[in-house]
């Protein structure tokens, strides 16, 4: 019977192959397309030229947008990291009626359509005369980052912080700050780091909010790409897309490392 099950498993995995190809195909064509010689995106590419990359990095507008996107993502991670980690700590080990609702509210930015968040944010920032500034985009991206940090800190808390540890540290005479530094911080650090990487990718990739809150000096890289893609599919766009692909590989490796630590 074990043998028959093995065959069934093989058939199941074989039938998944086209689905896996469908999932990976877009990621696989981006870099080769960026390496083409012509000004047209084509596949198979006319190998090999790095002109798309020099076009991309040599264009001052595209370069400025790249720097801006890094700046915004850094701010978003700082804000989302603080709020998400603090919220995960506050709820750790607690049971109270309505906890599910609080968690649901913290996770809400994942399911609320971005366009609604973007419109609401635009209206509030317009009132504060902050539209067109990078701070506004970073702050709003902070709400998107929060759920990711919250989840990953929560996971590492469950894995590494027994509430009794805090109790015994206190009973042995540790003050609040000492507990924070020597007990809580080491426990949440992997979660904060993983959440920060995920959150960075979320902010760096985001288009809709950045589109609504953009100003002449604050066109993020995704917004510039979004505009460019609607008019032309050029190797230059593929070159900048390669940067995003590299980022998602980094995220994947971070997650793999986090998973290995958890199972170890």
């Amino acid at each position: 019977m074990a043998r028959r099950d093995g065959i069934a498993r093989g058939a199941l995995i074989a039938s998944c192959t086209p689905v896996l190809a469908f999932l990976l195909l877009p990621s696989l064509v981006i870099v080769p397309m960026a390496l083409t010689k012509g000004q047209m995106l084509q596949f198979p590419p006319i190998w090999i030229s790095t002109h798309a990359f020099t076009d991309y990095l040599g264009d001052p507008d595209w370069f400025a947008s790249t720097v801006l996107s890094f700046k915004i993502a850094a701010l978003a991670v700082a804000i989302g990291g603080l709020t998400g980690a603090a919220a995960a700590l506050a709820l750790h080990g607690k049971r109270f009626p309505g906890k599910g609702l609080v968690v649901g509210a913290i996770m809400a930015p994942i399911v609320v359509p971005l366009v609604v968040l973007a419109l609401g944010g635009y209206l509030v920032f317009a009132w504060l005369h902050m539209v067109g500034g990078w701070i506004a985009i970073g702050l709003l991206h902070g709400t998107l980052v929060t759920p990711y940090v919250f989840i990953s800190v929560q996971t590492s808390l469950v894995a590494a912080l027994n509430p009794l540890l805090v109790r015994s540290a206190r009973s042995l005479g540790a003050g609040r700050l000492a507990v924070l530094r020597h007990v809580i911080w080491p426990a949440i650090l992997p979660g904060v780091a993983a959440g920060a990487v995920l959150g960075f990718a979320v902010s760096f990739d985001e288009v809709v909010i950045a589109l609504f809150l953009q100003g002449p000096q604050t066109v993020t890289l995704p917004v510039r790409m979004f505009t460019a893609i609607q008019f032309e599919l050029t190797p230059k766009v593929a070159a900048s897309a390669s940067l995003f692909l590299a980022l998602s590989v980094v995220v994947l490796l971070t997650q793999a490392a986090a998973m290995r630590r958890r199972s170890a």
Partner: protein, 280 residues
């Protein structure tokens, strides 16, 4: 001998005021915006809301959104079930490979994926080259800027979201149940049909609702991969803001979207939770 009592705060990990940062952030950038949206959308006795509801564009956008999202949901849940089952049945090494294949696109932004699809599906793209090389088509087939391309792009985006809840319920199934069914004479197909699928039902319905909710909010994909006639509800908000510069109507439409999302989430909460069955 009296044991010195610990301070009350030491009983629990950390104080509730740690919720303050998230409260401030969400209050300022989620609740306050919703209040402003409410005020604008319902001003003058709700006239923006009535104007939006009377607009023929709204009907078109709702129809597009529901049809495209439903098709996306059905395809994504079926493919998601297949992938989740493969991950569930795979050995540890293959499982890691499968997860990597599922998570790499998951962590790639929607814009990048849509750009890749646009270049794959264009007239001189990979897919058309392949079709012509295989002799399946004589001339380039129009695959881009239509509803087909939108659904391809959306299924590709939401597929990992379908895999997660289905995998969670599959993993919770007690292997003894399967052995019991086999020993009672069920064939392999019988086990899938009478044991696995019923136990995975909560994961399937959760996956379907999650995917549908996410699909309804799509904005980028219809613009890049679709035709102008594939306008979805989020694009209509953008149209009111950037083409008509009518924030009142944009706000009124956002209220309708929020109400629909809230109703769908309410429905999701009413469904049985992941892994609730099967571990018994």
């Amino acid at each position: 001998m009296a044991v010195r009592a610990l301070p009350a705060s030491a009983q629990l990990c950390s104080p509730y005021w740690l919720l303050l940062p998230v409260g401030l952030l969400y209050g300022a950038l989620a609740l306050l915006p919703i209040a402003v949206i409410l005020r604008l959308g319902l001003r003058d006795g709700g006239s923006p809301l009535r104007a939006v509801l009377r607009s023929p564009l709204l009907l078109r956008a709702i129809e597009n959104t529901v049809v495209i999202s439903l098709l996306t949901t059905v395809i994504a849940v079926l493919l998601g079930l297949l992938l989740a089952a493969a991950v569930w049945r795979a050995g540890p090494r293959l499982r890691a490979v499968l997860w990597a294949c599922i998570l790499l696109p998951f962590w790639t932004g929607v814009l990048i994926k849509n750009f890749a699809w646009a270049s794959l599906l264009q007239d001189n793209g990979v897919v058309n080259t392949l079709l012509q090389t295989l002799g399946l088509a004589d001339a380039p087939v129009t695959l881009l800027h239509n509803r087909f391309a939108v659904i391809v792009g959306m299924v590709h985006y939401v597929l990992p979201y379908a895999v997660f809840p289905i995998y969670t319920t599959l993993r919770a199934i007690d292997p003894a149940l399967e052995r019991a069914a086999r020993s009672l004479g069920a064939g392999r197909r019988g086990v899938i049909w009478w044991v696995v699928l019923p136990l995975a039902r909560s994961g399937l319905s959760n996956a379907a609702l999650l995917v549908f909710i996410i699909s309804c909010g799509f904005f980028i994909t219809p613009v890049i991969l679709g035709a102008p006639s594939d306008l979805m509800i989020a694009n209509l908000v953008d149209y009111y803001v950037h083409d008509l510069v009518d924030f009142d109507r944009a706000a009124a439409l956002s209220l309708l979207i929020l109400a629909a999302i809230a109703a769908l989430i309410g429905l999701q909460q009413a469904l049985p939770k992941e892994g609730q069955h099967g571990t018994a």
